[in-house]
């Protein structure tokens, strides 16, 4: 099973990011105050932002290497990215949203059938023909998760997808992510502000501060020391 290894150096006006990550299959939670660079790390891993220097590799496959001039296109990295805003396509049904990332050589019927299975898997099969504007917060999260799974991803990136939910919904979705992590057995990098969420999910916790990694370790080791981060 492939491990994600990344060294990232990136300088922007007023901000410098300099981190080294190793994320084995399982859930790595990245925590830290706003502006510490958590989302930028995800953007670099996805290929949405280009670092000034560094290397990103999943197992033997190098996705980015500044020195070797390697920069594999986002489309070819086969990753799943659940954005904070979820970024569901508003003009498409849940079915079309989930089917969007599936292989283009599948017939429409095969894509729809597979998308229905995924929507059922995350508990929102009844939303298949509805558009995102009609979804509740929790339903939208589930559709976004189903869409992320549709590509059989080798890496999953979650950028605070549950931040706008109440405690109960957050608990339900956290349990769902835990189940999915076991099924997928790929590295999942989950940015969160919530200590409770990290407690429930994380195999590894990385705490970032001002563009650097301040601390890393198991959830029990790191979370016990994080008293200053906001929870909920």
């Amino acid at each position: 099973m492939a491990e994600l290894v990344a060294q990232i150096k990136l300088a922007r006006p007023g901000f410098v990011l300099d981190v080294e990550l190793a994320c084995p299959p399982g859930i790595t939670c990245i925590m830290g105050p706003s502006g510490s660079g958590k989302s930028t790390v995800l953007a670099v891993l996805a290929g949405l932002a280009v670092p000034d220097a560094g290397r990103v590799a999943l197992g033997d496959e190098v996705w980015f290497d500044r020195g070797a001039r390697i920069d594999i296109a986002i489309q070819q990295r086969r990753l799943a990215y659940v954005f904070q805003s979820l970024a569901l396509f508003p003009h498409m049904s849940a079915l079309a949203n989930v089917g969007y990332g599936m292989a283009r050589d599948l017939t429409r019927e095969a894509r729809d059938a597979a998308a229905r299975v995924l929507l059922e898997r995350v508990g929102v099969g009844h939303l298949a023909d509805r558009r995102p504007r009609t979804f509740s917060g929790g339903e939208a999260q589930r559709v976004a998760l189903a869409r992320a799974l549709a590509r059989s991803p080798r890496l999953v990136l979650l950028d605070e997808p549950f931040s706008a939910l109440d405690r109960e919904l957050r608990a339900q979705l956290t349990a769902l992510v835990r189940e999915l992590a076991q099924e997928l057995a790929v590295p999942i990098v989950h940015v969160t502000h919530s200590i409770a969420e990290a407690h429930l999910l994380a195999d590894q916790v990385i705490r970032m501060d001002k563009g650097k990694i301040a601390e890393r370790g198991t959830a029990a080791e790191v979370l016990a020391r994080i008293a200053t981060l906001d929870d909920e």
Partner: protein, 222 residues
């Protein structure tokens, strides 16, 4: 009343709208996605038809596509016709007048597309073309169509630039706006009134239909 001027004006306006939609949307995309050097200058140049007198625009067009220009000569050797004093010249004249309206509306439409949706589509494996066709265009469509609608209205009513570039008649037929002017100066008040009313009805009907279409597209956007 002779219907030929109205038919000619509609033909010119439809083709001018298509032309300005294609070029206007392309320029708007380049401006929004910052693919052009000196975008503010290009924006100002593209918007110039809004503020320049029609005669000045006509003069520039005659210089750019007239029989002595490289473009004009190339077109003539290709088709055997000149741009000026021809249907093609009338279409280009009307399109130039419409262009800034299309660019502005298309730009607003494109800027309304959430860049996170574009990023999401890319992470889902979509290439540039698919992202444009399935995400950007459907979501920007109300803006682009609103631009086309305003461009059409502008093209249908063009008088000054068309007069300068295409002359007062194309194959013996004036456009509707020139016909109204000719009828007034010839004392044919009934003809002028009839053409003015019909042109107004057609123009408003087209705008009404386009408004409904834009609203439907807004609704379909979700």
């Amino acid at each position: 009343m002779d219907w030929a001027p109205l038919v000619l004006s509609l033909q010119v306006a439809v083709l001018a709208t298509v032309l300005s939609l294609v070029f206007g949307t392309a320029i708007a995309m380049l401006l929004v996605w910052k693919r052009l050097p000196a975008p503010d200058l290009i924006d100002a140049l593209a918007s110039a038809p809004l503020v320049l007198p029609p005669t000045v625009l006509g003069y520039y067009l005659l210089t750019a596509i007239g029989t002595h220009s490289a473009l004009g000569r190339a077109w003539e050797s290709l088709t055997g016709h000149t741009f000026v004093f021809n249907f093609a010249g009338a279409v280009i004249a009307a399109a130039v007048g419409s262009l800034p309206l299309v660019i502005r509306a298309a730009r607003l439409g494109l800027e309304s597309v959430d860049p996170t949706l574009v990023a999401a589509a890319k992470t889902l494996g979509a290439g540039r073309r698919r992202v444009f066709l399935t995400i950007v265009l459907p979501l920007a469509a109300p803006g682009v169509i609103a631009g086309g609608m305003m461009g059409f209205a502008r093209a249908l009513g063009d008088y000054g630039i068309t007069q300068m570039v295409a002359g007062s008649k194309i194959d013996g037929v004036p456009t509707a706006s020139i016909y109204v002017m000719d009828a007034i100066t010839a004392g044919r008040d009934d003809d002028a009134r009839a053409m003015a009313i019909v042109t107004t009805i057609v123009g408003i009907a087209m705008l009404w239909a386009a408004n409904r279409l834009t609203r439907r597209l807004h609704h379909a956007r979700g």
